[in-house]
Symmetry: C2
Subunit: 320 residues, 2 copies
């Protein structure tokens, strides 16, 4: 798998080498997923592999970086057998071809605990130009790609919810949970266009709050503008409380970004050319408090939608 | 901790950026350590942190790379508390200052299993010049830095062996197991000098075999030339069978390298200038079999020293 990348030395050496193209710098992102925490342990090995890779490609995309390579830390319980490894490798191979990335190194360890997979992804972007969290300004429009909440509702479905839902809708939601679709093609187009960006992994509202925290601004989201899939609309129509889960549930791996109002037309063109749905969902506003940012979701009557949980955090850390 | 490295963005963003200096390329190495597998779970947090970082710096050194930065994947059981985290961070801070490396990103996950720490280290080296595994040629001399076997004997001591050993020697061996001393200063000096190199982590013989496998050569090691510490000499004098453990035990984190005979004088000078002990321990020879490399350890009478276990492998994979 590493043949196509000379610096990987066929994975026969102790380290790999990589250089950014002229005028570019390397963009580095690492993420680890753990069985029973980040995915159900019975998930098919190829899907685990692809998810481990894709969650990192999603971060690179949100920063405007083009993915090039990755290293893999595979920490395996002794229950894993050769068939599992072969299927896992097939998943990687599939996504390497799909996204044009190369495995250039890794490490294999054993554990008495759950399967744990670390991926450190290396992308590249023009020097000094990646899209940061901190550039959102008052009056910027907030945009998000694709649809929001499918993955969180998919996890609910996996755990037995939505008994009355039709099979196609159920399958759609499950697929959205199991296999993220990182916005790799769109990512590099955001450079020079977006003022701030993040991928939606903790949940739409939590990740918008991450942008607001670093940018020192507030945000208002219009509830009816949040893009929902037909399947999510069905679930929410049957139980309106699920709308809050969609906004806060996480695992969407869409790109949330801000841009000044005069960029709206270029963004419409970009959505067409990159064949990526992009929806405006709200506005950045001036920060009302010095030390805390605020994200409000307003319904059609201008009332705040109550959100009890704002997003996924490890160890109860308040990242919000 | 990330303040000194602009591309880390104060760890407030989703990815970091890094560029190699002009004429250089980035060298990437990843390694994960797991509690109860790679270190005793009761190890002090600062020592765990430093070991996790140092095992990667050791690989970079063996390739001739100068370390620059790293990303950290910390997978924590719920038993870990704030005091533990603070001590762990102190360990990282210490080694960052010692080796001039910067934390530029990371990920925090929870696990129902053991503490698991992944480090991906980024170094740099002149383009196309890192020291590979595959360059050893017949008649090259085999060199190793420092002393061999201390860490393996230290682990034995930790598990209760060597009841009659004096306290100083015991402490020395334990320290060698607990805290690797990667040959970071020496590393870049090997470029243009060593024909092949590897760090000794699986065990002297296993790692020499890794070089021989890729270089398609055999090797002969003179048993009496293998550098041993006074403490290791005491243990082996009391029980000569421990010599085999020293050769195969692993965790030395010394640099094993090969160089042509006419480089011997430059290597002596290098040992003096880098204040690094470097010992010649044997010779590379022509491969006797097409598909398998052979590493022989000979005693003073020219007899092969029997080695039942050649080195550490995960899952019983034959990496030898």
């Amino acid at each position: 798998m590493a043949r196509a990348f000379p610096g990987a030395y066929g994975l026969l050496d102790d380290a790999a080498v990589i250089s950014p193209a002229a005028g570019n710098e390397l963009v580095v992102k690492t993420d680890t997923i753990v069985a029973s925490v980040d995915f159900p342990p019975e998930t098919a090995p190829d899907l685990i592999a692809r998810k481990a890779l894709r969650v990192n490609l999603s971060d690179l995309a949100a920063k405007g970086a083009r993915p090039r390579a990755y290293v893999l830390d595979l920490v395996l319980p002794r229950t894993v057998d050769e068939k599992w490894i072969a299927e896992f490798a097939d998943g990687l191979k599939h996504d390497q071809a799909e996204y044009g990335v190369h495995l250039i190194g890794g490490d294999l360890s054993s554990t008495p605990g759950p399967l744990t997979i670390g991926v450190c992804a290396l992308g590249e972007a023009p020097i000094g130009r990646i899209v940061r969290r901190g550039g959102a300004r008052p009056d910027d429009i907030i945009f998000v790609t694709g649809t929001i909440g499918d993955a969180a509702l998919g996890l609910d479905a996996l755990q037995g919810a939505f008994a009355g839902l039709d099979d196609d809708s159920r399958r759609f939601l499950l697929d959205r949970y199991r296999l993220p679709q990182p916005r790799v093609a769109l990512g590099p187009e955001l450079i020079g266009l977006a003022t701030a960006a993040i991928d939606v992994s903790d949940g739409l509202i939590a990740d918008l709050r991450h942008i607001c925290d670093v940018s020192r601004v507030d945000a208002i989201v219009e509830a009816r503008s949040v893009p929902l899939s037909p399947a999510a609309r069905k679930v929410i129509a049957a139980d309106p409380r699920r709308f809050a889960s969609a906004l806060t549930g996480g695992d969407d791996y869409e790109v949330l970004f801000t841009a000044p109002p005069d960029a709206a037309e270029r963004i419409s063109e970009l959505a067409r050319s990159a064949v990526t749905p992009i929806a405006p969902i709200g506005r950045i506003t001036r920060s009302l408090q010095e030390d805390a940012s605020r994200v409000l979701v307003l319904d059609d009557a201008g009332r705040a939608v109550p959100l009890t949980v704002e997003g996924w955090t490890h160890f109860g850390r308040r990242s919000l």
